[in-house]
């Protein structure tokens, strides 16, 4: 029993030290923020029910396709990423999956007042710059209804929620600013395999050109996200995506407005890229644990068999 008492003392001081340097120290160093469930409560609720067919009309008439592509509907973007980034500072997203990836309320608010929904006023109107996407002022009818119609249209052409893969969610929500080189992803798309050195260099030039322009637009090149699942962790990624300003006041990263499900998909993608062996780790871990319990049991029996002669 003396040994158990000694063990209790050792365990107590070990846990005390652990508590101090891990949970306690981290609670002091990092602001803890709880997710609000991607409700976007500060935004105006969607009051009207949209009509997709009318929305298609409004979408065309509002001039959205002047900047945005809609590949799934056979409408490619009017400019390639490099040309777009040169004109706007950032490449306007293709909207094929927008209705599935982004929150409907967020989309409606974005259309009506992009800077506010994206939370980038501190970088633009308040800093004397104008945001590249113009707000939708309405086509003369009920503006709220028109916005709701556009949202309904985008939702109608988007794949169903269960068809959106983690990678699709990432590309739509994050991929125009963030590279993920462990998955060959660059800001202008997937890095192809090259037969000729010259093609590779040409592609590289395009990537660097895009990155330079993006850097100028944002003040800093957004980081490569390959290992973000390990360097930031799931909780940080989730709360940061929901409201970047809360965790990093002043950051150039906009609020991207993903829905809760899409946020989870983006995180799953980052885990697939940066922590691809997590399932194996878990299953191998269980086997090793079973082995070790038997190992310990046998060690105990061996010790008993020897020590019964010694005591």
């Amino acid at each position: 029993m003396k040994e158990l008492k000694i063990l209790a003392v050792v365990v107590f001081f070990t846990l005390l030290t652990y508590w101090g340097v891990e949970p306690y120290a981290h609670s002091v160093m990092h602001k803890h923020i709880e997710s609000k469930g991607f409700q976007y409560d500060d935004l105006k609720p969607l009051a009207k029910k949209g009509d997709a067919a009318r929305g298609a009309q409004t979408f065309m008439n509002a001039g959205c396709i002047g900047c945005h592509g809609l590949k799934s509907q056979g409408m490619p973007a009017p400019m390639d990423p490099n040309a777009a980034v040169a004109s706007f500072g950032v490449n306007p997203p293709d909207l094929s999956n927008a209705g599935a990836v982004f929150d409907a309320k967020f989309l409606a608010n974005l259309i009506a007042n992009p800077e506010h929904a994206l939370m980038v006023e501190h970088k633009f109107s308040k800093a004397g710059r104008s945001f590249p996407m113009t707000a939708f002022y309405g086509l003369g009818g009920d503006k709220d209804q028109e916005v709701a119609d556009i949202v309904a249209y985008l939702q109608s052409i988007a794949p169903k929620a269960e068809e959106v893969t983690p990678k699709m969610a990432f590309e739509t929500a994050c991929g125009r600013c963030h590279a993920v080189h462990y998955d060959k992803w660059t800001q202008i798309g997937e890095r192809p395999k090259f037969k000729h050195k010259i093609d590779e260099l040409k592609f590289e030039e395009k990537v660097v050109d895009y990155q330079d322009k993006l850097t100028k637009y944002l003040g800093k090149l957004p980081p490569d996200l390959s290992m973000y699942i390990r360097s930031r962790g799931e909780h940080y990624l989730k709360t940061f995506m929901e409201d970047p300003q809360e965790l990093l006041p002043g950051t150039a990263m906009p609020r991207v407005g993903v829905s809760k499900e899409s946020a989870e998909k983006v995180i799953e993608y980052l885990a697939d890229v940066g922590d691809s062996k997590r399932a194996e780790r878990d299953s191998v871990g269980k086997i090793v644990m079973i082995y070790l319990f038997i190992f310990a049991f046998l060690a105990y029996l061996w010790k008993q068999s020897i020590w019964k002669e010694l005591h």
Partner: protein
């Protein structure tokens, strides 16, 4: 030339040439260990096993690691962690073992302090052990550089800066250590060399010395009792095992060791598979960037107490205090003036000294991690002073200790 007869078995053949039977007798069967011990005496074996884990996992990491500032990060985090079969396992085992080995070292050290296992002929055991502690620290630090993440880079920057020795501004020495003005390729290469060759070599030699130092004074026991090992061994060999105060190293002591090791392994592998963040700092999964300082720079947990002795003071006194904390443990056998070899709880004031030291070092450890602001700075400063005062007071406390 010696005369050799025909051997009748492989064992005999080897025995003729290598005296393996004598070796086995001297090193295992008739290497006598006191019976009156508890599981804390198994920490040496736990350390040996952990060091073995570090060596084996290290060998597999070495097969794919690239000591190049442009490739190192991806060779660890992509090649080893995601491409190599079980590469993640070696990496996690290596990182967790590197952290846990210090926990066991500290338990081992405090066991020695508590039971007075550093005096009356056991001084060299203590000193060789402290040399091992320092070598393990150098090994851990050099290894921490290798993934070339943000913490690698900035810890390398901050720790090598210490060598400018404050106001002496020996920047030349710092640049000599780094081989560059900032940590770069030369720096990574030489720490790689230290980590995979020179330090392991030194550690292995020191482990030999540490074991050798045990041989003559023998292992201490729970009551600090002076045992006549030859007399007790005779009793044991005569079959009087129950009365003998000694046991064989193998298999008697070993069987108990292995049970403790098995419990340790359950704890260790739980950490490897499900609770590894404490040993693999998330910030180090950001690649090294000399243009961007991380918001918080702190060493791994096992260096925090000495880091906190450096931090609350102004630059020069801080360095002196830090130097003090690095050497003072070596002097323990000579600062403890009492002739008693006994558990601390029977040694009056020394018991208080022991527990205050332990708690103070935990306080220093925690304060070393949190940002040095307000309350934390004050607590850190007080704890640093307590540490220094404890060591200065030790000879006076122990000098008048009553004989036990």
């Amino acid at each position: 030339m010696a005369h050799f007869e025909k051997a009748h078995s492989l064992e005999e053949w080897l025995d003729q040439r290598l005296a393996i039977k004598t070796l086995r007798r001297v090193l295992a069967e008739e290497y006598w260990i006191p019976k009156n011990i508890n599981f804390l005496w198994a920490m040496g074996m736990v350390l040996a096993v952990t060091f073995g884990i570090l060596v084996v996992s290290g060998i597999f990491l070495l097969c794919y690691y690239q000591p190049n500032i442009d490739l190192a990060f991806d060779s660890v985090n992509y090649t080893i962690m995601q491409e190599v079969e079980f590469g993640w396992l070696w990496r996690h085992m290596h990182a967790v073992a590197a952290s846990v080995v210090f926990l066991i070292i500290y338990i081992h050290m405090f066991t020695g302090i508590y039971y007075g296992s550093y005096k009356k002929g056991r001084e060299m055991i203590w000193i060789s052990g402290m040399l091992l502690f320092v070598s393990f620290s150098a090994e851990a630090f050099s290894g921490y550089m290798l993934p070339w993440g943000q913490m690698s880079y900035w810890a390398g920057m901050v720790i090598t800066n210490l060598f400018s020795l404050g106001s002496l501004e020996l920047n030349g020495l710092v640049e000599w250590l780094r081989g560059d003005y900032v940590p770069g390729q030369a720096f990574l290469n030489r720490f790689f060399m230290l980590h995979v060759f020179l330090m392991p070599l030194i550690i292995m030699a020191l482990i030999g010395l540490h074991f050798g130092a045990l041989r003559i004074p023998h292992v201490n026991n729970q009551d600090g009792e002076e045992i006549d090992f030859e007399e007790e061994a005779k009793k044991y060999l005569a079959g009087n095992k129950k009365e003998a105060k000694v046991i064989r190293f193998a298999n008697d002591f070993l069987s108990k060791d292995m049970f403790v090791v098995s419990i340790f392994l359950i704890f260790f592998f739980y950490l490897v598979f499900w609770h590894f963040d404490f040993a693999m700092d998330p910030i180090n999964f950001d690649p090294a960037d000399g243009l961007k300082t991380p918001p918080h720079i702190y060493p791994e947990w096992y260096f925090l107490w000495s880091y906190e002795i450096l931090r609350p003071f102004p630059k020069d006194p801080g360095l002196i205090a830090f130097g003090f904390s690095q050497v003072i443990f070596f002097l323990l056998p000579f600062l403890d003036r009492s002739p008693n070899v006994a558990p601390a709880n029977r040694r009056g004031l020394f018991a208080a000294w022991f527990w205050i030291l332990l708690v103070d070092m935990i306080v220093l450890t925690v304060m070393g991690k949190v940002p040095p602001m307000g309350m934390f700075s004050t607590i850190g400063l007080v704890a640093a002073w307590v540490f220094i005062i404890l060591w200065v007071a030790l000879p006076f406390i122990t000098k008048n200790e009553k004989a036990v």
